[in-house]
């Protein structure tokens, strides 16, 4: 059975909601609090918030923003951006945040993942991996897609699982923000490498993209930004999420077996 999750992932820059394409050209999309409230009211499965400006500013996600958000929403929340040590992880989780998203300093992060897993459990860690396709091969990039790593993708994913990571969000930089659909080949390539949930991210344009992913791969979780903040070809800003009925249909379709009564 597949337990489907469809997760909006929102980018924050200098306390505002932004969205770009292929990790570049970020435009102002709106107010954070308004957006998260709408997603909570629309019963989004979860929510991921990443601060893309914190790494540059050598800070981590603003705790005051987290405090305010936590008062507005009653769905699981993941926070990422500039997290380098267990102290920062603890401060974020202490606000009632369910998971932290770790990226960038790849080597260092294996230790941090291990420390976090021992204290808060593996389920509290999502490792984020950003990849680019070059000559039919996939390469890991870090620091907002600017630096290329020499790590092998499959090996690195296995290392993350061994370090105690709970989930992996795998983003296709080539597809991010393009609404061209998920990179099915990428997810097929890595789906059998680990038993962890892998969240596909990059390229979703609507329900059709999610169905295409779930039909053609073993992946059961997917995330999107543009699809949930823009509407139409002209990219008018409109916070949206599948209606409950539509969502129930998708979930039931992939779920299979029912629970016995008892």
């Amino acid at each position: 059975m597949k337990l489907i999750r469809i997760i909006p992932s929102l980018l924050i820059k200098d306390s505002f909601l932004v969205k770009g394409e292929n990790f570049e050209n970020h435009n102002y999309v709106g107010d954070i609090y308004n957006a998260v409230k709408i997603f909570s009211e629309k019963k989004a499965h979860e929510l991921i918030l990443l601060d893309i400006s914190s790494r540059k500013k050598k800070t981590t996600f603003n705790i005051n923003i987290i405090k305010k958000i936590k008062k507005e929403i009653f769905i699981p929340l993941t926070i990422g951006g500039g997290i380098d040590n267990l102290d920062q992880v603890s401060r974020i989780i202490d606000q009632g945040v369910e998971k932290v998203c770790l990226n960038s300093n790849l080597e260092q992060n294996l230790d941090l993942i291990n420390l976090t897993a021992n204290k808060f459990g593996s389920q509290s860690i999502i490792a984020s991996i950003d990849v680019k396709r070059i000559n039919n091969d996939y390469f890991i990039f870090y620091e907002n897609g600017k630096k290329k790593s020499d790590k092998d993708l499959k090996k690195y994913i296995a290392n993350l699982e061994n370090a105690g990571c709970g989930e992996i969000i795998l983003t296709s930089i080539d597809r991010e923000g393009t609404r061209k659909g998920f990179d099915i080949e990428l997810y097929k390539l890595i789906q059998n490498e680990v038993h962890l949930p892998i969240i596909a991210h990059g390229g979703a344009s609507g329900i059709g993209s999610f169905n295409e992913l779930f039909d053609n791969t073993d992946i059961s979780s997917a995330s999107a930004g543009s699809a949930f903040v823009y509407f139409g070809k002209r990219k008018a800003v409109l916070i949206n999420y599948p209606e409950k009925k539509e969502l129930d249909l998708i979930m039931t379709k992939y779920e299979g077996k029912n629970i016995s009564n008892g």
């Binding site: 337990l3 369910e98 459990g121 389920q123 008892g262």
Partner: protein
């Protein structure tokens, strides 16, 4: 007054937001006197089992929880790892639990479930109880865990979920409730569970 037990191993903030939203009186504490003066106890939890048990022991809360649940018979709600510590033994770290509702905490079999941890909104089939009043059977709740509770006495299981295998996701014995999913992250149905418990 509800005591939300604070022991470094919980995710108290989320639960407090829900208690606030429901307008319930609570105190966040690990102080013996304060806990004594409360009529109900909530033990939240998101952390690793052995870390949870160690933190409880360090704060001398292990015996206190036993006294309040087994002797004083106060209504108790354990959430996620706060539920699992009620068991006798956990495969997560191979450590002993508080043995309040005897049972083993086992790893979800990866070969059958395929993807572990079990994360997401899954259906819960329950036997009617005080805390499920007004909730439709087979409603979805938010799960996030790799281990599950197998009570020694099947009668203690009052909630079940299917994820590759069928396992127990709620234990109940008299005044003591433990639930594997997170009511504090499960929208209105989750809030209903907390409200029901507060009326116990």
């Amino acid at each position: 007054m509800i005591a939300v037990i604070d022991y470094d191993g919980g995710n108290t903030k989320s639960i407090l937001n829900v208690l606030d939203r429901c307008g319930l009186d609570y105190v966040v504490t690990h102080d013996e006197n304060k806990i004594n003066s409360c009529s109900k106890l909530i033990l939240p939890g998101v952390s690793n089992f052995s870390f949870c048990i160690e933190s409880l022991k360090k704060k001398k809360l292990d015996q206190l929880i036993k006294d309040h649940t087994l002797i004083k018979k106060k209504p108790f709600l354990g959430i996620c790892s706060g539920m699992q510590i009620l068991g006798s033994f956990s495969e997560e770290g191979n450590v002993e639990g508080l043995n309040i509702i005897p049972g083993k905490i086992k790893k979800i079999p990866v070969n059958i479930a395929k993807i572990v941890p079990h994360v997401g909104w899954n259906k819960v089939n329950f036997r009617d109880s005080l805390i499920t009043e007004g909730i439709k059977n087979n409603s979805r709740f938010y799960f996030c865990h790799s281990y599950y509770y197998e009570p020694e006495d099947p009668k203690h299981c009052f909630m079940k979920t299917h994820y590759g295998i069928e396992f127990c996701t709620g234990v109940h014995s008299q005044n003591i409730f433990g639930i594997q999913f997170h009511p504090e992250k499960s929208l209105s149905e989750g809030m209903k569970i907390i409200e029901n418990f507060s009326r116990y």
